[in-house]
Symmetry: C2
Subunit: 235 residues, 2 copies
């Protein structure tokens, strides 16, 4: 399988860098082909210019995405989101006709489960300063799934990708050797099951669950609100 690893941490000699190094090694040992976009090392320009849709740096990233079967997106969680350099990778690479503005022959917009990147998988690996309870149900941060909603649903799934459950490392500012070993093992296990892990069951836009205004039909998760209504129900 072809795996693209997108990495957005300023310091290669960090916990994040160590996990990235181990992850790339693990993927190669598993027999995958691996490419990397190390955004800080590439000095990636994250600022959209109104006229830069065909810049070579963008085309190179699009080519990597076309090549990839699975994309790993790794970053430290800053202010409940991606570092700007990574947000600007999506802002600039996911241009109209590639990340959005993709249409079927019948005129339907292909997004939320369909689109140019359909068939590919994505998985977020992140380090967070918060401890796990603070990002669990009723934690002050909101749950990890809620915090990652803009990336998971609004970006990766929007562009067509199947999104695997994320791999978080909590309390990342104070990780002991034991905790690091556990995080590394966890990541290795998840990299070993990239092809078989069930994606997050987001409802597709064109699968019948939403009406023409893109509002969930009343008989789906009836009466409920909150982001979880956009998950297909089991059973």
């Amino acid at each position: 399988m072809n795996v693209l690893w997108v990495f957005a941490h300023p310091e290669p000699r960090s916990l994040s860098g160590a996990l990235r190094d181990d992850g790339l090694r693990t993927l190669r040992e598993l027999g995958h082909d691996v490419r990397e976009s190390d955004l800080y090392a590439m000095k990636w320009n994250p600022v959209v210019d109104a006229r830069d849709e065909v810049n070579p740096d963008i085309l190179a990233e699009q080519e990597k995405l076309e090549w990839a079967d699975t994309v790993v997106v790794q970053f430290p969680l800053w202010w409940y989101g991606m570092p700007a350099i990574l947000k600007g990778w999506f802002d600039r690479v996911f241009v109209k006709g590639f990340g959005y503005g993709v249409f079927a022959e019948d005129g339907r917009t292909l997004r939320y489960g369909e689109g140019r990147l359909a068939g590919k998988r994505a998985m977020v690996v992140l380090t967070a300063g918060a401890r796990e309870p603070a990002m669990g149900p009723r934690g002050v941060n909101g749950t990890l799934d809620e915090v990652l909603w803009p990336l998971h649903h609004g970006t990766l799934f929007y562009a067509g990708m199947s999104v695997l459950p994320p791999v978080p490392v909590y309390g990342a500012n104070r990780v002991s050797d034991t905790q690091f070993a556990a995080a590394r093992s966890h990541l290795r296990r998840r990299l070993g099951t990239l092809e078989t892990t069930e994606p997050i069951p987001f409802r597709t836009q064109n699968g019948g669950d939403y009406d023409d205004d893109l509002v969930l039909r009343p008989d789906r998760s009836p009466g409920a609100t909150g982001l979880a209504v956009h998950l297909r129900q089991a059973g």
Copy 2:
């Protein structure tokens, strides 16, 4: 009142630019003192460098924030979030000791309603391509409040600010003259009530609603999950 307007759109001759121009004029007519951070015009560098905490461009923005009573943050919603140039304004300006890592004399961390920016107000003004139903209850995007959670709660409120309800312009890719006039009027009304509008009633971290793990106590919004549990209940 002192108002800082942070603007992050690449094209001044845009719907966003027109709203910004009218908003600044309105604030001056109301007798407020106004300063602006037009991030594209300033060629703001959004990329955190591990060693740049004291750069003059960061200190200048911190000084503006210290000066301001209210901060307006205006941007087009890209991929359910801020343009990278704006995300990187928060990443770089809200450094440790300013935006986070602020402590009381008794050692408590001051955040989520307390901190260096406590007492100030913030209001988001945004343009979104999505139409309103798609960002309402059960809309495919998630609600506007859910999409803005990382900025509203995870950034502005985290740093201590009181967050006013946002001013959205939906369907911003195809706005008629009539719709523009309505958006401008709406923004003017909201700017006229900056000092009196009730903030979003996020629960404070240290107000007794959360336990020592920062998990909401069982008797608050009992049994409930979803981001709305972090709002104080009326009555």
